[in-house]
Amino acid sequence: MIATSPTATSAIDAEHGADSAGAGLSWQETGLMSDKKNTRGIRRTVTVLVIVALLVYLGFMWQTAISQ
């Protein structure tokens, strides 16, 4: 998996001082974007978008067919 080394966060620390509330914590530990919440959000987004794409595809063909 991802092996960390000097991350971007440390680069930001170097630039802005070490007053970085989220620095050093993992994405899950910040609580702002827990792995679970993140996965659920992505899953929901993808589900909705796939349904929309399918509806547009089938809807346009259906509409064309019945308008003939």
């Binding site: 092996a3 991350t7 971007a8 050093g24 346009f60």
Partner: protein, 540 residues
């Protein structure tokens, strides 16, 4: 040249280096996939460009010189399909892959495996499509719009073309889903949507456009396929179908498609101009709302492509006024770019030159678009070289110039080396001179009545065609300079290493990571300062 010398330690963070095959064929890293997209689009740009050279060589003089008319028609069709679906769209997806996670502070795209699949569909799609040129009856020759009944009269290679376009559409939809899922779910803590840089904003809106219209194209060509091979009559007038219906459906896809190719360009330019003006972007929120307005309006203007098919007058007026309305948000953008530069501390490195070239020449394309929107005038301009001039100003000096600007802007971040600035400037000036020589005379040809998509023409059009072809050859050759600059930069030939913040005036999270960007970035959430956003602190 404005570089600084931040000295953050660079470490790829690999415990073991993946093999070449693992990295480039099965890899899911957003930067690698971004690189693949960009290289693929460069290859397609050269192939599509070679087709354009054949077209311009044939049109150099009146009469038939080099190719037969059937092959000429295949070249015009393939040139468009390759450039739209193979060069411009994948190039912007490549920029999105590379830069979106870096700009919003995400460790990768939301769906990395899907990302890999989205890319690897493309080379196969284009192999299938280009292979039709060698099939019996040749490739598609009825124009990239594939209008029936002409497209239904093509040989069996049509099935391959439709399959290839389905694959490209699938790739685009998957890419769009990935981008929306990433932007909505993986922004760094504290990065509200209205603090997000403009480039991710324009891509978010573009991705929604893709989801909205690519399935429409898929539906249209599926019906075309069944008309051709399964005896249906959706669009076949002989069986009671309606060819004009196809045009409506196609352009319901086709017009937003134009904005799919230009909105990310707006995003790139909106990143570059503040950097080299050393000022925050003027009117950040207006830019966001203008982008959304353009996207919305793009859905209700499609029939301006088909004023001459015989629509009711009320319909023509609606589409004329709706089209003109697009000039308002577009004007807002141009005003904001100029206002960003106003009283800025400007420098003119290659990305800025391409960005300014974009603003000026895209505006020329926008104005000729307004002329085409006027119904009675369009009856004169329709299907002439004026249309060709218009959309090439929008797509070449618009989209392609923005891509060049973006490539020069981010190349040092990707490679860790500064490109050759002198050659970059040569590339810009040669491109600008030749591209205008290529496309500006086409306005006059169109106004004089030269139809598009013809291999031979009246002798009265000779001079402007000759000038246009010379411009075409020059523009094509100038792009080889770009290929050399990219290659030499990637090889570190300049020897000038760059720091994290490559450009003095650059703002945003992507400039806080080392150059070249490590293989994995933002494995922990970044903390950012609102004042460091490219568009300034928008919290007050």
């Amino acid at each position: 040249m404005a570089t600084d010398t931040a000295t953050t330690v660079h470490d790829d963070g690999h415990e073991h280096a993946p093999s070449f095959i693992d990295r480039w064929f099965f890899g899911t890293n957003h930067k690698d996939i971004g690189t693949l997209y960009l290289l693929f689009s460069l290859a397609m740009f050269l192939i599509g460009g070679a087709m354009a050279m054949i077209i311009r060589a044939e049109l150099f003089m009146p009469g038939m010189q080099i190719v037969n008319p059937e092959f000429f028609n295949q070249m015009t069709t393939m040139h468009a399909l390759v450039m739209i679906f193979g060069a411009v769209m994948p190039a912007f997806v490549g920029l999105a892959n590379w830069m979106l996670p870096l700009m919003i502070g995400a460790p990768d795209m939301a769906l990395p495996r899907l990302n890999n699949l989205s890319f690897w569909i493309l080379p196969f799609a284009f192999l299938i499509m280009l292979s039709t040129l060698f099939m019996e009856g040749g490739g598609p020759a009825g124009g990239w719009t594939l209008y029936p009944p002409l497209s239904l009269q093509q040989g069996n290679s049509m099935a391959f073309v439709i399959f290839a376009i389905h694959m490209m559409g699938l790739s685009s939809i998957m890419g769009a889903i990935n981008i929306i899922a990433t932007v909505l779910n993986m922004r760094a803590p504290g990065m509200d949507l209205l603090k997000m840089p403009i480039f991710p904003w324009t891509w978010l809106i573009t991705a929604f456009l893709l989801i909205g219209v690519m399935p429409v194209l898929a539906g249209a060509i599926t019906m075309l396929l069944t008309d051709k091979f399964f005896l249906t009559s959706f669009f076949n007038a002989a069986g009671g179908g309606d060819p004009v219906m196809y045009q409506h459906i196609f352009w319901f896809f086709g017009h937003p498609e134009v904005y799919i190719m230009i909105l990310p360009a707006f995003g790139v330019v909106s990143e570059i101009i503040p950097t080299f003006s050393r000022k925050p972007l003027f009117g950040y929120q207006a830019m966001v709302y203008a982008t959304a307005s353009i996207a919305f309006l793009s859905f209700i203007v499609w029939a301006h492509h088909m004023f001459t098919v015989g629509m009711p007058l009320g319909g023509e007026l609606f589409f004329m006024y709706a089209t003109m309305l697009i000039a308002v948000p577009t004007g807002v953008k141009v005003f904001n770019w100029v206002s960003t530069m106003w009283q800025g501390s400007l420098t003119f490195e290659t990305p800025m030159l391409f960005a300014i070239g974009f603003v000026v020449m895209f505006t020329i394309g926008g104005f000729s678009g307004l002329m085409l929107a006027i119904v009675p005038a369009d009856y004169q301009y329709h299907d002439t070289y004026f249309v060709v001039a218009h959309f090439h100003y929008v797509l070449v000096t618009g989209s392609v110039f923005a891509l060049m600007a973006g490539a020069y802007y981010w190349l040092p971040k990707w490679t860790g080396y500064m490109y050759n600035e002198t050659l970059g400037k040569w590339h810009f000036w040669l491109s600008t001179i030749f591209v205008n020589l290529l496309f500006f005379p086409q306005h006059f040809l169109g106004l004089a009545g030269m139809p598009r998509r013809i291999p031979d023409y009246n002798i009265a059009f000779s001079d402007f065609n000759m000038i246009s072809s010379i411009g075409g050859f020059g523009f094509g050759l100038a792009q080889l300079l770009f290929v050399y600059v990219v290659w030499s930069c990637a090889r570190g030939r300049s020897g000038i290493k760059v720091g994290d913040r490559v450009w003095e005036g650059a703002r945003g999270l992507e400039w806080t990571v080392p150059s070249p960007a490590p293989h994995h970035t933002f494995t922990t959430p970044p903390k950012f300062d609102d004042r460091d956003l490219a568009h300034g602190d928008v919290s007050h």
